[in-house]
Amino acid sequence: MKKILTLVFLLFAVFSIKAQEDSTWKPETHITGYVNTEAEYVDLSVWKDAKQNFAAGLSEAAFLVSYKPLKQLEFKGTFVYSHFTQDIQSLLVEGSATYTFNSMLKIGAGKYLTPLSPVNQYFYAPMNASVSLPMLVSHHVILPQSISGLQIAGEFGSELKVGYNVTYGNYLSIGHYPYGILGIQGQEDDALYMPNTVSPVAPAFQLGGSARVYANFNDIVNVGFNYFDGRHSSLVVNNIVNGALNPFSTNAIRQTYGIDMQLKFNNLKINGEYWLGTQKTTDLDEQIKYNYPGYYGEIIYEVGKFSPYLRYDYISDAKSTIYFPYPTGKLYSVESELTGYTAGIAFRPIYEILLKLEFRHLSNVMDYSNQNVPILTAMHIDPTNPLGITQNQYNYFGASIVFSF
């Protein structure tokens, strides 16, 4: 107890000394934001039967405000609305206060975008050239979009910078939910909204943490190592007892490892990431274990106001269970793999306007062949014929206009 009191006293002392240094500081406010409107077309016949295959509309409207009453203290709030936003939790993407002792030590509290690449690099539309996000972001069962809690970060060095970030707190139970205008893309959402999750659902907020270490040499090479630990997560296991669905929730460990690399040579940028998410139950006699690998590579060439790009990405998607009352009355597992080949171009004639055009060829392989451990996801389930392996290949055309201020 004495030690804690001493520590608290020291922290107050440091904060008050730092605050006195700020006597000449004038508070700074920074406001920015954007409105992203998209048009999408997909030539998927299954999709066409279920919905329209062309749509245009608002994708997101985002507003960011940063306020620094002291040189060392920054408040940040980011609100992002999309037409799939269902609650205030989803609307407030970031809300935090961060105190900077020096470049090597920043301590913050609040809600943060998970400071792991690629979420941090791609989440907001003006930050990237593409209309659609890498599947690691849009279908990220393997890492949460945000964490609410405490954050410690810092950076050492000058030409060669080595940085770290540790964030710990609650995160939203993750799945992906239709996003974009047609719902081809995905976004994080509460487990309650997972279309095929049955009651009782996993707790919406679970405890976890992330750690990232990176090295950056003169902005030419950047290499990052990432780790996410959702040690206190839970997994809903569907079960059939006497012909009736009897789901239950059990404790599970969720761990995700990632490596990312960004290279920049003059106008050429190359980005690549590999991630492996794992989830395993801890209390069942027969352990259930899932692996979710995902990766992408992309090349972007900046020619003045134009940024053409190519991307290849892959993700082994959510694995869970689904119950088909018809025709089998059984539970099935799903192994879902998504592969994407993307080419596009972005054009930013002035700061306020960013135009994007994109073509994407997608392949979605779903394997329903294992009974008794079933599904979640996704887009192209044909409930009248759930058995076996299905493959859908389709083309996606996207265009977006992002107005920034």
Binding site: E28, P115, N120, M127, D219, R348, Y351
Partner: protein, 140 residues
């Protein structure tokens, strides 16, 4: 005729380079011992990639408003970007939580006053601004 044409082109080129070089002045506080900097160093300070002077003092960068012609030239010559690209750079930086842009001042006088008042300050003003009370540094 060919010689005259080449000469004329050379004069235009020299004049344009000279005009560009003279359209802004990079300034620091009078107490700063620095008298010249490389372009990349100035760029690193203004883009907050370097945050300390060699003596350990914090760098406080200050920018002109987005409509300033000196800013357009400075951005192109020193940062190697258009003003729009620099704003996009800061937008990315703000959204990703890396940093916020330098304080923007709407006039040369405001920049001059700011640099006079802050030991670690660096900024730039129009070439015709009266720079008494601050140090103009050469950019290599």
């Amino acid at each position: 005729m060919k010689k005259y044409t080449i000469l004329l082109i050379a004069i235009i080129l020299i004049a344009s380079v000279s005009l560009s070089a003279q359209s802004f002045k990079v300034i620091v506080n009078n107490t700063n011992s620095v008298s010249s900097l490389a372009k990349t160093e100035v760029s690193n300070y203004l883009l907050k990639k370097r945050t300390k002077w060699s003596n350990g003092t914090d760098v406080i960068a200050v920018d002109l408003g987005t409509k300033s012609s000196a800013r357009a030239t400075f951005s192109k010559d020193i940062l190697g970007k258009t003003v729009a690209q620099v704003r996009a750079y800061w937008q990315q930086s703000v959204f990703s939580g890396k940093d916020t842009p330098p304080r923007e001042m709407e006039s040369d006088n405001a920049v001059l006053e700011f640099v006079k008042a802050n030991h670690g300050a660096i900024g730039y003003v129009s070439a015709n601004a009266n720079t008494d009370g601050v140090k103009v540094i050469s950019v290599k």
